[in-house]
Amino acid sequence: MPELLYLDTARLGLMSPRACRASVDFARFAGEYGATLYLTDFLRDGFTSLPSGIRDRYSGLEDWLGVSSLRQSLRALSNAKCDSNVLVASRAASLMKLAARLLVRPCHNILVTDLSWPAYDRILRRAANNRGYKVTKLRVRRRILKRHLTADELTDNIATQFVRDGCDGLFLPLVDNLGVRLPVRRIVERLRNEAELRFVVLDAAQAYNHVPLNLASNYCDFVIAGCHKWLRAFTPMGVGFFGHPATADYIRDSTQRWMRQGAIDEPLMRFVDELDGGACQRFGETVSLSPLLTSNAAVIDALRNRESIEVTTDNERVLTSMADSLGWRVLTPSNDLRSRIVLLQSPHESDRLASPETIRRRFLNRSIALSAYTCGIVRVSLPSRPFSVDDCAALQSALASTA
């Protein structure tokens, strides 16, 4: 059976080698030692706290050096300042709920676009509707993909709408699920010059370890990311970053207060804080620990194997020219809004009528994993290694076939 060409990272990334080892060895450890004090020591102080006999048997856990080290690695990967804060949660949606609460306190009208992930959009609207705040939605996706709106034009559109509707809060994805990479920093700087921008939340679920976040430049207040896509931890874990000097105290104090009050119910966040602070709650909830270890291992893999932008560009060129020659329509935004996600639409009527699952299965039969949508559209997440001859042959064959 030919090797699988995995092009579905935007949905769920292939588990990274270290994450895989950590996951397997932690499962073995759990089977043999359960919740003994060895586990407590290991989680709090890291791999070196284990007796040498155990260390030798579970070398896949060697990357775990404690919560501080995990936070440091997550920070390093996002290019955040060393004093910035990192929150860890069992679900990114929990962090979105926190972000929505943070947004609606100082802001009364929050600008979003139709590029937002619908579930996050709903969380924000629910938070806003409960309190009589407003969420203003700007529709840009169609113009980006069909009319090739440039980054400057997109910035103009967002700034115009923001000022005209008297908005004061902003929620944007850094990269949307269809691969549009927003010029967020430019947008935020523009809005700060032209209006009273009070709080900015960014969704980096599709951006973390995909595009540089450059959080050190403090262009936003709160960033939500996940570990199961481009970071390739496979097990979902939410990560929140904040460190803007103007809002860090507000976020830190409010988060702690809401956790105490129970308004934010996030067991992993609580557990990690306890591990980090040394305090232990007697009647705390039991949490899944595996995401901590796999995410930690995946971050180390990511930091050691920084991906080359040239490879991505070459892969994109190969894929789009191949698709083009076979009649597929390449639904890419303008150059300055592109990411490692490419959308292609089949020229065949039968494909356009076929279900997404049928199309996915057709590609899988040729050892290619990708996402498919209605109307014969497929989403390709470009790999970090160059396409091989076999990859190209498989792609050629899959694109040439009809449903």
């Binding site: 009364h108 000097p245 507000y250």
Partner: protein, 296 residues
């Protein structure tokens, strides 16, 4: 029985006497006269009745207005709470008027004049609290009232101890609690006397700075203005709060920051005026967030 009651009794019995007389006459005609005469007689009576009703109706319509007292009583009758108060007040006034001691009357008239002045203020939709912190009870009631989502406050701070005494701290705590739980959104503009915020300093002096920082940490949006920035617009130097679109509260404080007078105004025109001032102040203001940005 006095003369007024006798006249009233006479007036009320007249229609009965006329009715009885006409009825007697009708029976006599029915007994003595032929049917055609009786029919003509009845037609005459009905015509007269219609004429009288029309005359009365036109008279009522032609009258420009009901007597003021009658109108007042009718209006109050539709508001049971006020009707009860009115009855109590009328009874009390009647008792006051029955006393003849000149000193008592002088004192009573003076007090009653003061009550009338208060009532006149209430009639204008205003409630005043003088030399008391009891306004904070109403303040809390307003902030907690259903339907209020936005509270905009302008604090004219001439003392570093502004809202630092017991009642002030309680009000601050109430602000933080309501904003934090998302019941209302609070925005505050602080006009700060220059000696409390020297031009060379990024932040105002403590404990004022701490008071502001605490609010910022709860997500309250803060704007700051140096008093000297408003020297060309002295009418903007004021201390007030806008409670949604329901009321405006204007506070006058002594140099130590204690309330001398608090006037609550429920007139929409006043709310609009306050919003205009709020917007004009925004032109001169710097957000607390920007100051924190400059710190780093």
């Amino acid at each position: 029985m006095d003369a007024t009651e006798t006249t009233h009794s006479e007036h009320s019995s007249k229609p009965l006497l006329v009715s009885a007389g006409l009825a007697g006459l009708t029976i006599a005609v029915w007994a003595a006269a032929p049917t055609s005469f009786l029919l003509g007689y009845l037609c005459l009576l009905v015509s007269a009745l219609i004429g009288l009703v029309m005359k009365t109706w036109l008279e009522v319509r032609a009258r420009p207005q009901q007597p003021p007292l009658l109108e007042l009583l009718l209006r109050l009758a539709s508001d049971p709470e006020l009707a009860t108060l009115h009855a109590s007040l009328a009874d009390a006034l009647k008792d006051v008027s029955s006393r003849t001691d000149p000193t008592f009357r002088k004192l009573a008239l003076s007090r009653l004049n003061s009550i009338v002045a208060d009532c006149a203020l209430l009639a204008k939709g205003q409630v005043a609290f003088t030399s008391t912190e009891s306004w904070r009870v109403v303040y809390e009631e307003l902030l907690r009232s259903p339907g209020l989502h936005l509270y905009r406050s302008v604090a004219y701070v001439e003392s570093a101890h502004y809202w630092q005494d017991g009642p002030g701290q309680q009000s601050t705590q109430l602000n933080l609690e309501l904003h934090d739980e998302g019941t209302i959104r609070i925005e505050r503009t602080a006009i700060i006397a220059d000696h409390l915020w020297p031009a060379s300093d990024l932040f105002p002096v403590d404990p004022l700075h701490s008071w502001l920082d605490q609010q910022h940490r709860y997500g309250i949006w803060l704007r700051l203005i140096r008093e000297s920035a408003l020297e060309n617009d002295p009418e903007l130097l004021c201390d007030f709060g806008i409670y949604g679109t329901r009321a405006v509260g204007m506070q006058t404080a002594d140099p130590a920051g204690r309330t001398i007078r608090f006037l609550l105004d429920f007139n929409f025109a006043k709310i609009q005026e306050a919003e205009t001032v709020w917007n004009r102040l925004a032109v001169y203001a710097t957000s607390y967030r920007d100051l924190l940005d400059q710190q780093h």
